[in-house]
């Protein structure tokens, strides 16, 4: 029985509403990996937002790729599109005081949601496309239950070496 990480890949055309398909796949995977229902929902919601953006900002009919790396201690989701990209640093967190007074009108919550919902977010974007990489880790207790002899790092902060290279 192996602890090796598993890589799955899901390609979808940039079509409204199709994000439900990779989302259902990842929901099944995350549950099976032992994430708590609340945490599964966080992953589902973050992936939904990332896929919706990838579809929304796709400028061609080229597929959006969802690359899933299931590791012993967590799950990495990469959502890759071939849109014209953006500068992630230019996106400021929402101003809740202003919002409470005048409302929202035009979106602007997706990236904020993603950052709050998963443990680690990395965004690489250029004029050739965008990769949003979202990592969520299993709590230590789940790890020690399922594999008491594991030697893999269990803390999010220890795990950067497990990240796949882009």
């Amino acid at each position: 029985m192996s602890d090796k990480s598993l890589k799955l890949q899901i390609s979808i055309p940039p079509v409204e509403g199709i994000e439900d398909v990779p989302v259902a796949a990842v929901e099944a995977l995350a549950s099976k990996m032992g994430f708590e229902p609340n945490r599964v929902q966080d992953i589902v919601q973050a992936l939904t937002e990332a896929c919706v953006n990838a579809i929304l900002y796709s400028t061609s009919e080229m597929d959006v790729e969802v690359v899933v790396t299931a590791m012993h201690n967590g799950l990495i989701l990469e959502v890759c599109d071939r849109g014209s990209g953006f500068d992630p640093d230019s996106i400021k967190p929402p101003d809740f005081k202003l919002i409470s007074e005048v409302g929202v009108k035009n979106g602007g919550f997706g990236l904020h949601m993603i950052r709050e919902l998963v443990d680690k977010v990395e965004i690489e974007s250029s004029e050739r496309g965008t990769v949003v990489r979202m990592s969520t880790f299993l709590p230590d207790s789940t790890l020690s239950n399922s594999a008491p002899n594991s030697t893999l790092p269990a803390h999010p902060s220890d795990s950067s070496s497990l990240m796949p290279q882009p």
Binding site: P13, P14, V15, E16, G17, I18, D20, P37, N38, Q41, D42, Q45, T48, E49, V52, I55, L56, Y57, S58, E61, P94, F96, I99, S100, E101, V102, G103, V104, K105, N106, G107, G108, F109, G110, H112, M113, E116, L117
Partner: protein, 116 residues
């Protein structure tokens, strides 16, 4: 992005009026595609200056941030007119709603363990 005839998200809204209160029950997806309908369907109730507009999320199958954004706009408008927006049966979507600050403008069921 393109549209497809057979993968469309759907949203249905049923109405139940009770004095100066209305309960709008949502069924389906609160997504990019259904938000325009969501805004348009709720607007007439906002314009009636009801005391409370309840959005019942019992039948919601998907939420995206822009859908929640629309609910925030509705809450702000209701508040300005002296009414309020209340969200019920938010279930597993509670955390997403709080992260977007819906609780700052609307009545939302308390969420255990949420740290803003």
């Amino acid at each position: 992005m393109t549209h497809s005839s057979f993968l469309q998200d759907e949203l249905k809204i049923s109405e139940q009026i009770d004095g100066d209160r209305v309960i709008l029950t949502l069924f389906g997806a609160l997504s990019v595609t259904t938000v325009p309908y969501f805004r348009q369907a709720v607007q007439p109730y906002l314009e009636r200056n009801l005391a409370v507009i309840v959005l019942d999320f019992e039948g919601v199958t998907k939420i995206v941030s822009r859908g929640v954004g629309a609910a925030i706009d509705m809450a702000v408008q209701a508040k300005k007119q002296g009414g309020k927006l209340r969200l019920e049966n938010v279930g597993k979507y509670g955390r997403s709603l709080y992260i977007q600050g819906v609780h700052l403008v609307a009545d939302v069921p308390e969420l255990e363990g949420f740290e803003p």
